[in-house]
Symmetry: D3
């Protein structure tokens, strides 16, 4: 259960309105690596966490913080839209280049839909969606995803930081940048912790490493004609998991046969000339129908 204070985690006060910047900040609200993503990602990870104690507690701390970041950004966006030329006509834009410059760069939906406020969308007006939030139950996989998310997030914040001179916006972004720095360091430390606790190692998931085709687990298939890749750390020496030696297949040949689909089900009307043989009748991965099953049930030893 959650509780809320109307005080913001950090101030969000622009010096002046700037509707063009208000549009760009939508990327940090509802973009693929915006605050809605990390808040939902961490919430679902926390609820899904199967290890009691410090991991779950940590994830829920950060998740709860991130909801407050959406709030902070949404407040900033609304303030940047104050008195903005949302309701100016094109005629005004055409006759005043300053208005024109701004109107072209605005998000019309911030005015038409939200009445001058933030939307759960990105800077091109595409709505946030649930496929952005990663929560697999495997903490190593998810912490890798968290490092990646915080890295893209800080990168985007840094880019937008350069697109404004407003001291109030920059002040808030300095807080966001700092938190993104912390969160990158934090998830990297959490990865280290998983290893110290012997819960996970380097490769996700820490299993099937002997079952997989080990001979293909460390070789670079050289399939593009740039030839400098053979010089990298990924091309020779031990692999980060310590389990292989990197190699290069400089002239790789396909290992499989020629690709072909099976003969088609004639009732699906694929164009067909019989070249792949007779279509099979339904085969469901078993030969036994109901009768077979009943028989089997009555004679379980078969």
């Amino acid at each position: 259960m959650f509780r809320h204070t109307q005080r913001l985690q950090f101030d969000a006060k622009p010096e002046k309105p700037d509707p063009v910047l208000a549009r760009k900040l939508q990327e940090l609200v509802g973009g693929a690596y915006g605050e809605m993503t990390v808040s939902m990602q961490y919430l679902f990870q926390g609820w899904n966490c199967r290890v009691k104690g410090k991991y779950k507690d940590l994830i829920m701390d950060i998740a709860t913080e991130e909801i407050g970041h959406v709030e902070m950004l949404a407040t900033m966006v609304a303030r940047l839209l104050e008195g903005a030329p949302n309701t100016e006509t094109t005629k005004v834009a055409v006759s005043d280049p300053a208005v024109g410059a701004v109107m072209g760069g605005m998000d019309p939906q911030q005015a038409i839909i939200a009445g001058g406020a933030a939307l759960p969308s990105d800077s091109n007006g595409y709505p946030w969606n649930g496929r952005y939030a990663v929560a697999s139950g495997n903490l190593l996989a998810d912490f890798y995803a968290n490092v990646a998310a915080e890295a893209q997030s800080r990168l985007q914040a840094a880019r937008i930081y350069n697109m404004t001179d407003d001291p109030g916006v920059k002040d808030m972004l300095k807080f966001n940048l700092a938190r993104d720095t912390y969160h990158q360091n934090l998830w990297l430390a959490a990865i280290e912790q998983l290893r110290e606790d012997n819960l996970e190692d380097v490769v996700v998931p820490g299993t099937l490493t002997d079952e997989e085709h080990r001979e293909h687990a460390a070789s670079l298939w050289h399939l593009s004609d740039g030839d400098a890749a053979a010089a990298g750390l990924w091309a020779s020496g031990p692999t980060p998991d310590g389990d292989h030696e990197f190699t290069v297949l400089s002239d790789p040949e396909p290992l499989g046969e020629k690709a072909s689909p099976p003969p088609p089900d004639p009732k699906l009307f694929a164009t067909y000339d019989g070249s792949y043989g007779e279509p099979k009748s339904p085969a469901l991965g078993t030969e036994v129908g109901l009768k077979g099953k009943i028989r089997g049930a009555l004679s379980p030893d078969e």
Copy 2:
């Protein structure tokens, strides 16, 4: 420019059809962490790579390989759908539990749309989309994303590996698992290489670290009531980037003021009682209109 051989990178021959598994494998074709994602992600990263030589060459090698993985999976899916009960009526399903078991778990669009073949969609029929592919131009940010993608990908392949007994499918998945192992190791090595080459460090992007509010760059805000998080590597000691000491804010208070939007533009008809004061007229981040600009242009020293 690309070239193609009809031979598969690795074999994709199931022992028997299995349309339920064919649906699940759609996740590896067109899911958020399927082969379409990594192929498009690496292609766009390669085309966007601003460092000549080994990084770009490496990315293009792997990108080119991944297109072949989509091909391998798509071929496997079609073969698993051979002779499947796509065209059976519900009446048959109802009277034969074996058919019923399979029909419920099938993807109807593999039959109705594709005629018994793979779709560019995930295991719930949701189409692959471009927001899945990450290519920021910052190699460290993108390599973190690549590790994360390969980790989720191998995890999903491993889960599906446990959902089948078919030796042919398992053989192909052993190849996929091995490649995902390699690709995780590879991107981790590439991160190391970026550091060795002094192109990037630990935190993304490697800038604004002094400008950001450093006092907030290493502290855990304890906002959820589980209290074990203070015991982790993320709570004390040096940060992975070596630039901070982790701390815990055990009873954090908001630093900002009470959140409030500005007074609304009256032409947008927000419900308003005047409590936030008079709405401002348009303010575009500048006071100068056209006349001001012309004046400024003629008298640039003002």
Copy 3:
């Protein structure tokens, strides 16, 4: 079955082209509360209506009208795009601020995809989709949704009304605004009619009111620190359905236990330390397998 006349329900003749306004009007064509939504919403409600006579007839009257509104808006959009700077080059925009002001605010797809016409998309180019249309079969639930849709729709039309001085556009919007006024009144009257006819009451659905946990059916959980909410009509006195007295829980405590997921299925490779106990084997809501069922079938009294 439908019939069509090429005459518009109302005129749609702008005085002058205005491609920036043409983009904004896309919100009324294909936005979440545009004409495509209400036409599809009412069509599916009408087809799904299980009460013969006046309700179904009413819904189909309005649904049929709304298709004509899409037509009216689409015609207006095309006319606003006449002779527009769709095919001007950036060079022209850069050298003529008037063109520049317009080009930035245009929807490029109206030119590139539609050749100067309306699209089934909103003002940010996001396509209309079927999740917008609500048709549940419960008329009270759907009429509430219809009031809400017409309210948002009239609000958006009113906002855009303020963004133009074109007398022709304003004339058409005066018709749209009037119809939205009527449709709000209409659906409110229809809600009243449902009550008069004793088909529905206030709360949707009109059932399970005794079965639900009545003690939680009228209390405000005070979870945010603003303390003025206790003064509203929702905080004390009888509820609109006459079935409860509003109360306030000013310091609410969670009623549930600490959230935790179950022990994970080991074959899904969640990170796990055993802290939630042994994973269960499959349990499908029943203990009987096939043998049990056959036994049960033969001995139905068990």
Copy 4:
């Protein structure tokens, strides 16, 4: 800023796992009228609220509660998936009708992506998206939308309530149903409060009522051949806003001219035979270019 306790608002303990029900409950998590929608809808409404005091405080109370509902549902879903046949092969499903019945009705992504937990998606695996959340800044429009959302939400919860016999699930749903009852009553009371406070009236927005074409603001256009609609409360008598008398246009004729697009821009290659006349050259809603503007700037009286 938010705080969190790991205790759930209400218990979420099923008696037994039931993966088919776990899929259906996704509708209440991430569907168009699920808990993610109302939590995001209320959060954005609260942040966008331009009236200090009881309205904002109320919205934030409810918004904060709803995040906890997502948590409650997500926990329930994970528990319903315990020990589920996620990792069974099709072969098992085919040979055991009980497993087959369940596997067909499961959401494969709950296993493959989430490792046996809830997803931010609906019951068909379609991800939650930001277009679901309505927050216009007009409180009457938004409270109508809130009534509608809670009505659909309670309707869906009631439907799912009938799809299970599990006493634990039913117990939680009894809480959800009760809260949905309260929230419907609450938003209806809030609508009444807006009227008492003279902030809004019946029609949204409370403006332009004289400017719109009043003669079209109260008439039913009879466009479908069912003839019972003329008997309803929407067909005669005063309108709910008290501002009109309902009427019926029993044989309505179109008021507009024949629809036609303008002559096309020849550079966009529409098929054209000249029948609509000569295409116009660019006309931007103004005749003045840069020179005109400079002239105007220097001679502001023109």
Copy 5:
């Protein structure tokens, strides 16, 4: 403007309910090539048609018919859901294989959202969206798209025709199949008519044929290793537009230089080692700023 009769264009009466088939028919309602697509596609084409008379009239005739097809299908879907096991619990499904077979194959949203009726979605529950509808203003391009849409549509109807034995459903599908036959013939005839009327020819658009690089307008680039393609009608002889001779480039070499991006803007923090040279400062396709423009305005001959 539209009018409606409640009589269906053709009967839609199944002999018996069949919820599995009801799900599959969603593909014909709201799939990429379902009736919603063609109705919206033809409506927008008709509204966008720049040729007066027979083309526009034809498109509007067919568009109006197609809305009635959505109605027919939606009615059929609701009837197939009559008395269906929507509200059965998993327990029943597990104990009765006949119920289990059906429940797995059902669309849960038809029950939970629509209360036993059709949805504006496809057979995997993905909502219809506006990107499916093609209306470019170029009639030849659009008629090609119409032939393609009707072809996919009849193919899908034919596939579903084979998935049912219900005489009522088959009767309706025989009507749909016939209309799809007519519509394919119709659009092919309309293509012929465009040529007879000298409005369009074979290639879309009928322009820039001399300006394009003609030497690349008729050659097959042989980039995949299957070598049978050189034997087709597309490899030699005159092209269908009569303007070229087909040829084969059997061993094609790239014509362009090595791909490389430009040096990055340093404020966007791409990883960069300087290997592509110094980043340029902003260059907007022009060298002139405001001063230049004012100068140009005053001295237009420069």
Copy 6:
């Protein structure tokens, strides 16, 4: 399996940067008819092709070429963004109309997400998705779709060709236009080839032509009041498939009964007054339950 050379199929070198054009070109990268669509469409068609030899080989040749077109366009987009005003502040835009003109027309995500490069999205920032790619297994249906795709594609390229004066961009587009000309001719020739090979005829699929209601397979239902459609080639004379004579139903009457849904399942809480009779209990298309089936299994002759 694929291989790659870093050399582009054709040059992609603009004379100057132009970020507005870079946005428009996104339509050709990731729009519904952009290069991502045709590359994925042809790849899935090729993998799904059930006819050995020239058809499959052809499709794979073209598919492989199209991946290279995505590369060419992506490279062009990055170059057009060189030194662009991505990181300028609104203040600069407002004070320099040339910058303002450009900033309004830019795609902010090309800077914020991609760091100055192409995205897998269209010109309104909507991501490419898998529903765009058509691959049905029926070659005639798919070749019709391919003609349509190449026609829309060339049309869009031609429109953009007119939006730039840059000789480098125009040079690349001349290549694209030529390839689109070839591909239209090619797929038209391939349709001819299918007929020569007696694999398909005119209507898709080439079946059920006698089973469908032939009396409805050639008649124009005149449902819109424009009356010129009766004069077209689609209104009289033989149909293109030679199997019918076109006719016109000038005053068509519906053939079906009044549309009505069945009585609703009471547990789904549709509003209902009993007017459609008693709801049926579950009827699954069969009367036999498990006992019936076991009985049938033991006594197969019944």
